[in-house]
Structure formats: C-alpha cells, structure tokens
C-alpha cells in the first residue's frame, strides 16, 4: 500500500463487511505523530480471532487462508517507529489504531483521502461515515448523516454531491494538515 488512504479503504471495507452501520474515521496530528483511527459498530470479533488477527494467515474469508490488510497496516506504522492497536469484542464493534512517526522517511503519505471516501460512500450509500481531521488547534469534520439530512430525498450518490464531498475533504486536509505534514502544502 503506497498511501494511507488505501489502507483506509481496506480497513473501512472490513468494518462494512462486519455489518457496521456507521464507520468513524479520524486522522489526528500530535507533535511528531500522526494517529490513524477507524472504529465501527459492526459485529466485532471473538477474542480467539482477535488474538491472531495481525497474522497474515488469519482471515474471515473462505476463498483462501491468508488476509493481508491488517498486517500490512501494522507494518506500515511500525516501520516508522510507530505502533498499532486493535480492540474488539463480539457485539461491541472494532477499533483499529495506528500511530505513524511523521519525521520517518519510511512514512507513507496520506494520499487521496477524498478518493477513498468517494469510493466508500458511492458503494455504501446506506451506511454512514464520519471523517475527522485534527491538529491540536483546528478540527475538520464531515458526517454523511448530516449531508443526508440536508439532501432529503436526493441520493448521496448524486455526482454533484459526491464531487462536493471530495472538494470539502480536500479543503479540510489542506486546512488541517497543510504545512504540518510535508506531503500537504500549506
């Protein structure tokens, strides 16, 4: 995975397969660290599965016995000197958290979060997504539930709406991480 936004697409897809109605995504900058967090209210995992979920030889799918998504994210965080955590319980949803050391040369760029969110919203219009960017001073937030309330009857997949969402996210990234992360200009 060459961008954090691609990990996001992958991890959020796990939440959706777990039957989540709402997926919460947050990217928070604290001096020196970028914290990536995805939490959901899906069905969660049993302890036995959770204990081995960071192994590539653990997967919920049945076509093949390997699952690379979580191990790849863990590795992307740990090669920067950062860390990875996952919390889950049956019926209690799942929280995935990865810390990236921002000064590390091995940190992958954030990438096109807007493209990831557009893809997620387009193909899962009945699920809700909450996206948050924070930098300690300022905050950006986008909630599809708010947008849907405003739209009253117009589908969120409408191309003008989706493009508006993409633009809003790009502006949010610039506002919160511009000049803070070196891949985003201020």
């Amino acid at each position: 995975m060459r961008e954090l936004s691609l990990h996001l697409l992958d991890i959020a897809e796990n939440s959706l397969s777990a039957g989540a109605a709402t997926v919460n995504i947050s990217l928070e900058y604290k001096p020196g660290v970028l914290r990536f967090r995805v939490s959901d209210n899906g069905k969660g995992m049993e302890k036995e599965f959770l204990d081995k979920v960071t192994s590539p030889f653990t997967t919920s799918r049945t076509t093949r016995k390997v699952g690379m998504g979580i191990p790849l994210l863990k590795n992307s965080a740990e090669i920067t000197g950062g860390s990875f955590r996952i919390k889950s319980g049956l019926g209690a949803g799942t929280v995935v958290e990865a810390d990236f050391i921002t000064s590390s040369i091995d940190r992958i760029p954030i990438g096109n979060i807007d493209e990831t969110m557009k893809a997620l919203i387009l193909s899962n219009p009945s699920q809700d997504f909450e996206l948050k960017f924070k930098n300690g001073e300022k905050e950006y937030e986008l909630k599809t539930v708010d947008i849907k309330n405003y739209l009253k009857g117009v589908p969120i997949q409408n191309s003008d709406i989706i493009n508006w969402i993409g633009e809003s996210i790009r502006e949010g990234l610039k506002e919160i991480f511009g000049g803070v992360l070196n891949e985003i200009s201020g």
């Binding site: 995975m1 691609l6 697409l9 992958d10 897809e13 397969s17 799918r61 076509t63 093949r64 699952g67 690379m68 998504g69 790849l72 493209e115 990831t116 557009k118 893809a119 387009l122 193909s123 899962n124 950006y140 708010d146 947008i147 405003y150 739209l151 009253k152 009857g153 117009v154 409408n158 191309s159 003008d160 709406i161 989706i162 508006w164 633009e167 809003s168 502006e171 949010g172 506002e175």
Partner: protein, 123 residues
C-alpha cells in the same frame, strides 16, 4: 471551508434531474475492493467507472464494491451484470480500460472481449 448550506443549490438541481431520470433496468458494475484489489489499483478503476458514467449522464448503472473474488493475481477486477443477470468478468483493469468498458459495453452493448477473464486466461 465548505458549508452544508451549499448543498441546497445542488439538491434543487438534482431534484429536477431525478424527475427526468429514466428508471430503466439497472446494470451493476461490481469492483473487487479487498486488499489485493486495492493494492493492484482498484480505487482509480472504480472512480473511472463512476466519472465516465457521470460524464455521459448514464443513470441506469450502479457501481458497487465487493471483497476478494479469489483470483488476486488478476486484480483489479470488475464484473458487469446486465439487467438479465448475465455476467461479464473483466480482469487486470486500469482507469483507461474502465472508461473503454463504459463506452463499448455499457453504452454500445458490446463487451470488450480482450479484457475479459476468458481471453486473458487463454494466453
């Protein structure tokens, strides 16, 4: 930053279009979006499908995502399922191929044989 109030104008425009919309039988385009697909470039493929359909104002096609289909080496993959339920499986896609599939298959009704799994696997 953007304000939700801007959605009002977009909503009004959209409502006019909905009334004109042809509610013909839906065609589905299903893009594989598991780790394997994403790493191979499925996101630009999906977005290319959506953009090309919007550009051509085609409303009877739904673009969806699915998990791993089990043929990771052929990703990015997409299936086109027409109104009769007939399925065409496209493999090793990129954004340009996706746009061509929109034009040839979804608009003109001629599957792009050279990108299909049958043709690729014969090589």
């Amino acid at each position: 930053m953007k304000s939700l109030a801007e959605l009002k104008a977009i909503r009004e425009k959209a409502l006019k279009e909905i009334n004109l919309r042809d509610n013909a039988d839906k065609i589905r385009v299903v893009v594989g979006m598991a780790t394997c697909g994403i790493a191979a470039g499925a996101r630009p493929v999906m977005n290319a499908f959506v953009e090309e359909l919007n550009k051509r104002n085609i409303k009877n096609v739904n673009v969806l995502m699915t998990g791993c289909v089990g043929a990771c080496r052929l990703e990015p993959m997409a299936e086109v399922i027409d109104a009769r339920g007939e399925k065409t499986t496209y493999v090793k896609l990129d954004a340009d191929k996706a746009r061509k599939i929109v034009v040839e298959h979804l608009v003109n009704g001629r599957p792009v044989i050279e990108y299909t799994i049958g043709e690729t696997e014969r090589e």
